[in-house]
Amino acid sequence: MELNTYQQQAFNHQRAEIEKFGKLNWFFVIFFLCWIGAGAYALYLQIAKGHGVTGMRDNVVWGLFIVNFIFFIGLSYAGAIIAGVLHLLKVPWGKPIIRLAQMMAVISVVVGPVFILLCVGRFDRLHHLFMYPRIQSPMTWDVMAVITFFAGSVLFLYLALVKDFAVYRDAKLNIPKWKQRLYKFLAIGYRGAASQKRHLIISQNLLAIIMIPLAIIVASILSWIFGMTLRPGWHSTIFGPYFVLGALYSGCGVLIVAMWFYRNMYKLNNYITNKHFVNMGYVMMMLAAGYGYFTFSEYFTSWFGSAKWESEVIDKLFSTKGYGWYTLFANAAGILLPVLIVAIPATRKPGLITISAFIMVMALWVKRYLIIVPTLETPALPMQETRMEYVKYTATWPEWTLTFAGVATFLLFFTLMAKFVTIVPVSGLEDPHQQHNHQHETVPVKTETVQPA
């Protein structure tokens, strides 16, 4: 694989990261593994003793696990949409962050579904989903959606990596034999021939075109697990688009945090520049405005219409005796904060944008909690229970441990992936200073003669 000087420079800058596995990395890996170990113990307890070890009970049948499921799966859909749009529109500054978005898509679609499985009472019967599937059930739609999306996002990431794998293969890296062989295998004989280029670009374009609507469809299907029930706070026509936007928005935040982290840790300032933060900040601000609008529409219509059952949920959400403070945090930190930080020129700085993105991501997690728990705590019939844990949901330590184990798994995958591929893709990289005379990567004409490099 031939690289131009700018690409070569970018590769040389990053080659140490895929050659070495430093002490800090080991520390992170061990730290994450400890969390995952603790999670494994909590999971063991849950399987051995039953779901009684969680805070979920007959009224609040789903808790933290489904919140995490929505959260991670949302990140995944966002990764695919962001990468797809940056790719398709050939956004000039987008190249260096496309890989992070695609990695986020793949990693979270692996981590997310684990959480929905944790909601399932009988692990030993998961095959029933395929043996006796019922097509009417939104759960079945979701199983199909997530599997399709998983396959799509893996392929999307891989196709974008093929050229880079060829670079790693040819670069005579100081790495163990197995890794060398793996790069060779994964590069599937790519030499940069015109026909190879052509096939690769066409398939990438096609997949990007598929991934964007796919992500929208699957995010809507996820929302319909809730939207298709008759419960107040869930049974809303806005839910599909609301979840799509929420996913995109929180994913945008996580991407900004990841950009900041890798830029500082791997000294990628030349490639992930301030411009990237500002531009992604603008995207985040637009999404915040959209999400705020949807949130307002959702609450305002319920409140104004004030149907009895709906009002009970709205009252809980906005009363300080209920979830008022959470609602305030979710909307102030989750919608207003990013808008203000990006809108005011003085605060439109990478560091502050990142901090606001991080807080926003937390707030959106809380927002998902507010979608799930208050609705489940508001059945149509009064609960009239003697067992208080059946009335009010409180997450237990196994649930929290498993939640953090999920976050640790997410970060562990990122840590390992960053040691296997360069965070900034090298093969397609363009020198921003020469962009005026640069020609976009286009599909080579088919009649061109094949010249193996």
Partner: protein, 322 residues
């Protein structure tokens, strides 16, 4: 541990269950036959037809009929009782929260205390409205939200109107519980307490015994009893004849003492279905609490404190819970 035990005596139990199943099938061929009349005769071999259609010979000392042994196959249990359309009418004017229905239901289904399939709520429709006792089973809706969302066909609607659960099929995703607007379904969060002699029974949607950890269950209108021509235990146990159970096709319902025309009863007493506006089409009808037989306090005064707590908000507003 339990699994090992089962394996050790697996073969013996298999034969035993086979025998029980066969006897039960034979004995209950006619609906009104009392199965308990079959007493085992010691040291005698009997020939029986196995569910697979083979004739097997078994020592008669192994034969003992058990209640709750499913008397139909799982496939038949999904079909329903031919020609029937079960319906229930609850007369709210007669309920005084005697809670005999709950006790009988718990006993019949071996439910541990507080995991109730049948509950009695105290409802108050508006600020000025009078509170009334509201017994609630599964409504066996004709447009059941729970069945719609089940991903594995573990809960299903039968031809005779019942909504049942196959707890061998259920994966425990609890989607049905989230979807049911009437909070009918309960989940086995921990290993359920089941009497030893019932643990090895083959579960059937008509009985759901034994209960299984990590699965959903609910009121089933006792179709196993209906097949034997018996009323559900809640109906039989009620001292005030609150529950009328019957067949919509025959247009008759009975509370065990009086038998009345279903349509006429609903018409005369302005029967309604709970939260009918949700479009779920419940098969349980309520008669409004007009001309009550008991003041509402009668169901509250003598309750133990723990149970009083459930209804204190309505009966003694302002007073702190114990």
């Amino acid at each position: 541990m339990q699994h090992e035990e089962i394996n050790e005596k697996g073969r013996r139990d298999f034969l035993k269950n086979l025998a029980i199943a066969t006897v039960a099938t034979a004995a209950c061929g006619s609906l009104n036959c009392s199965c308990s009349a079959k007493k085992p005769v010691a040291d005698k071999k009997v020939k029986l037809l196995s569910p697979e259609g083979e004739i097997v010979e078994i020592d008669s000392s192994y034969l003992n009929h058990q209640e709750h042994m499913a008397i139909v196959s799982k496939l038949e249990a999904r079909e329903g009782i031919a020609g029937k359309k079960f319906v229930m009418v609850v007369d709210l004017a007669r309920c005084k929260n005697a809670r005999k229905c709950i006790t009988a239901c718990q006993k019949w289904h071996y439910r541990p205390e507080e995991t109730e399939w049948l509950t009695v709520k105290l409802l108050k429709d508006s600020d000025k409205g009078a509170p009334y006792w509201f017994p609630k089973q599964c409504f066996h809706c004709d447009n059941p939200p729970c069945v719609k969302v089940c991903p594995v066909d573990a809960t299903f609607k039968r031809n005779d109107g019942l909504v049942l659960i196959d707890n061998d099929r259920c994966i425990g995703c609890k989607f049905c519980m989230a979807a049911c607007p009437y909070s009918t379904r309960v989940f086995n969060w921990d290993e359920p307490e089941v009497p030893m002699d019932l643990r090895d029974l083959a579960s059937n949607p008509e009985t759901n015994i034994p209960a299984r950890v990590g699965t959903v269950e609910k009121c089933d209108f006792c179709p196993d009893r209906a097949r034997e021509g018996l009323l559900p235990p809640c109906v039989e146990a009620c001292p005030n004849g609150v529950f009328y159970f019957g067949d919509e096709n025959e247009d008759t319902v009975t509370n065990g003492e009086e038998t009345v025309g279903f349509t006429q009863l609903i018409k005369d007493r302005a029967g309604y279905r709970f939260l009918e506006e949700l479009g779920t089409k419940p098969r349980v009808y309520y008669l409004p609490p007009k001309d009550r037989q008991f003041p509402v306090e009668r169901g509250y005064e003598n309750l133990p404190d723990k149970l009083k707590d459930r209804f204190r908000d309505i009966m003694e507003p302002g007073k702190k819970k114990a």
